[in-house]
Amino acid sequence: MFRLEARPQPSKLWIGISPILAVLATMVAGGFLFAALGKDPFISIRMIFWDPLFGEFASYYRGQLLTKAGPLILIALGLSIGFRAGIWNIGAEGQYIMGALCGAAIGLAMYPLDAWYIFPLMVLGGALGGWAWAMIPAILRNRFGTNEILVSLMLVYVAEKILAAAALGLLKNPEGRGFPGSRNLANWASSANPDLIAGTGMHWGVVAAFIAVIGSYVLMQRHLIGFQINLTGQSPRAAMFAGVVPAKVVAFTLGLSGALAGLAGLFEVTGPAGQISIDFGSGYGFTAIIVAFLGRLNPFGILLAGLLLALTYIGGNVAEQEGLPAAAIQAFQGMLLFFLLAFDLLSNFRIRLAHSSVSKKEAV
């Protein structure tokens, strides 16, 4: 039968090819899923991957692409840096919510002032909110050795409760006739985060995502901190000998990913979402985990992966209008991660026919 032979180094070729294979395999498996739901698999796949880009209403959907990819990329970049160090922040959704809440609160406190500095202050508040929320698991891990996976995830639920309370109370629009939700931040010039070029979907969050791609590339490839993070992930013992302080890596990576997630939340609440509402949490924080892996934890890979998953979101919306359930796309995204993890075998191992290698040994 087959035998797996560990490669001394992961294969660069397969690291590049496996995401593409995973996407293709997901399309095939997704086709079966849609067929099982009684939909034409070919039309469904075309609706998700082709129509948003080249279909009848493509000019509208193309703008959505950047709007949806922006937060995904921003969050995934932060997560990928932690994942490289073996630090699993899976609570980005909570940091995203807290960032949006803090930033929005700062803005709303100054309503209806008309000043240029309000938006920058809100951005700062967004980053700080996300950072602070992510520092809870970081401090608990450093101080008590608590598992950051579970703590960061539990904090997502806490953040959702706080979000609901804020939308119904503290940040509720006083002129909203009793409806839950804050004032509309996108309609207030001082806090609005509109498309920089109309119709492209390119708001400040997308710009921030592009800057973060370059920034994290420089950090991970050209900076000592990046080296220390990579080393910690590959061999914590070697990292200690190299003088890396593990607690600092934990605090830095969790804090950074929290700040980026908080930024994503702030840009979302001032732009596409427009207001703090009970259902502001959109699942970007979880989908970004898929983006980070699909992008091979590499900044430019994450850029592409973010665009692809944004496409599946929009394609999901297109398909929903055609009667496909919205949940299908979530299952689809999960499947993508399965296939990616499966194909990763090929980058870390060679598949050999066990039979031939045994006979070789005997011949020697």
């Binding site: 797996l4 032979e5 560990a6 739901l37 699993w88 899976i90 608990l140 008590f144 050795g145 608590t146 598992n147 996976i149 579970l150 703590v151 995830l153 539990m154 904090l155 997502v156 639920y157 806490v158 409760k161 706080i162 609901a164 309370a165 979880f286 989908t287 985990i289 898929i290 892996f293 359930p325 919205a326 949940a327 299908a328 796309i329 979530q330 299952a331 689809f332 995204q333 999960g334 499947m335 991660l337 399965f338 993890l341 499966a342 990763d344 075998l345 870390n348 191992f349």
Partner: protein, 306 residues
């Protein structure tokens, strides 16, 4: 506010019902982790079990079949995890997360036509003289069968791990997979079986949620129960009986906060409703202080290179 409106016996009875889903999921995950595998997909397996059990029960009218279907569904999802982590040697954390994300999507998809339906009722342990025992009867001896099954399951797992040879082998695999392999045990196979068992238990827990404790289906209804089950294993320091104590503690917090909200305590609802999650974090902090009793091979990939 009137705290006397809270009936302590009813509170105990409802905390047992609220705890059973996480109890079931946690005892399964405990066995999985004892073999050195960390499956973070409990939430996903639970919710798929919840809808599978619900759908089968509603369609057949038989809740037992529903529980069987939930076990099967949970185990099938676990099989995907087992294949990916044991044969494709994928990262366990990432695969577990994928399982949860996929499970949430899949369950929502499966459950579209089941929103708002009522499941068939489930038989209770209804022995008159037991129920009539003062205090204990009301609180402990008047539950549905699954409550007692879950406790028996914990006892069985405890006995299996502590007193059987297979249980010893299972623990050996979790403590040092290389040594277990060298002695000649099939590490991968033992782990796959444990993962399937964990999946079945998680599915059972999910079905308990949709069939009994909530007794309806809503999208994303597990709301973190699977993650709390994972925390519970840490809380229990991988000791079966502690799972019961931990589960009832968490269930108690959940039920108590609901009761406090209902009687209109002046604590804002946001603090009360996030209490189960905050308590989980606090418990994790307290438990991670001491010497770790986690299986030594937990989360490490095993690859027999011969």
């Amino acid at each position: 506010m009137d705290l006397s409106a809270i009936n302590p016996l009813a509170l105990i009875a409802s905390l047992i019902v609220a705890s059973t889903p996480i109890l079931l999921a946690a005892i399964g995950e405990l066995v999985v982790e004892k073999t050195g595998v960390l499956n973070l997909g409990v939430e996903g397996m639970m919710i798929v079990g919840a809808i599978a059990g619900f759908a089968v029960s509603v369609n057949t009218g038989n809740p037992w079949l529903g529980f069987l279907a939930a076990m099967f569904a949970g185990a099938m999802l676990a099989l995907v995890f087992a294949i990916l982590t044991q044969y494709f040697l994928a990262n366990q954390v990432a695969t577990g997360l994928a399982l949860t994300l996929f499970g949430l999507g899949l369950s929502a998809l499966m459950g579209i036509n089941y929103v708002g339906k009522k499941p068939p009722s489930f038989p209770k342990l209804d022995v008159q003289f037991l129920t009539d025992i003062p205090i204990i009867g009301q609180a402990f001896l008047n539950h549905d069968y699954m409550v007692y099954i879950s406790i028996l399951l914990v006892a069985a797992v405890w006995y299996f791990l502590k007193f059987t040879r297979t249980g010893l082998v299972l623990r050996a695999v979790g403590e040092n997979h290389d040594a277990a392999h060298a002695i000649g045990y099939n590490v991968t196979f033992i782990r796959v079986l444990a993962i399937l068992f964990g999946g079945a238990c998680a599915g059972l827990g999910g079905a308990y949620l949709s069939l009994i404790s909530v007794s309806s289906w809503t999208e994303g209804m597990t709301a973190g129960a699977g993650w709390i089950a994972l925390a519970l294993v840490v809380f229990a320091s991988w000791k079966p009986w502690w799972i019961i104590i931990g589960a009832y503690l968490f269930g108690g917090v959940t039920v108590l906060q609901l009761n406090l909200q209902a009687v209109g305590v002046t604590i804002p609802a946001v603090y009360l409703s996030s209490a189960p999650y905050v308590v989980t974090i606090l418990v994790l902090v307290i438990m991670s202080g001491g010497r770790s009793s986690a299986p030594a091979s937990l989360g490490r990939v095993f690859h027999a290179s011969h």
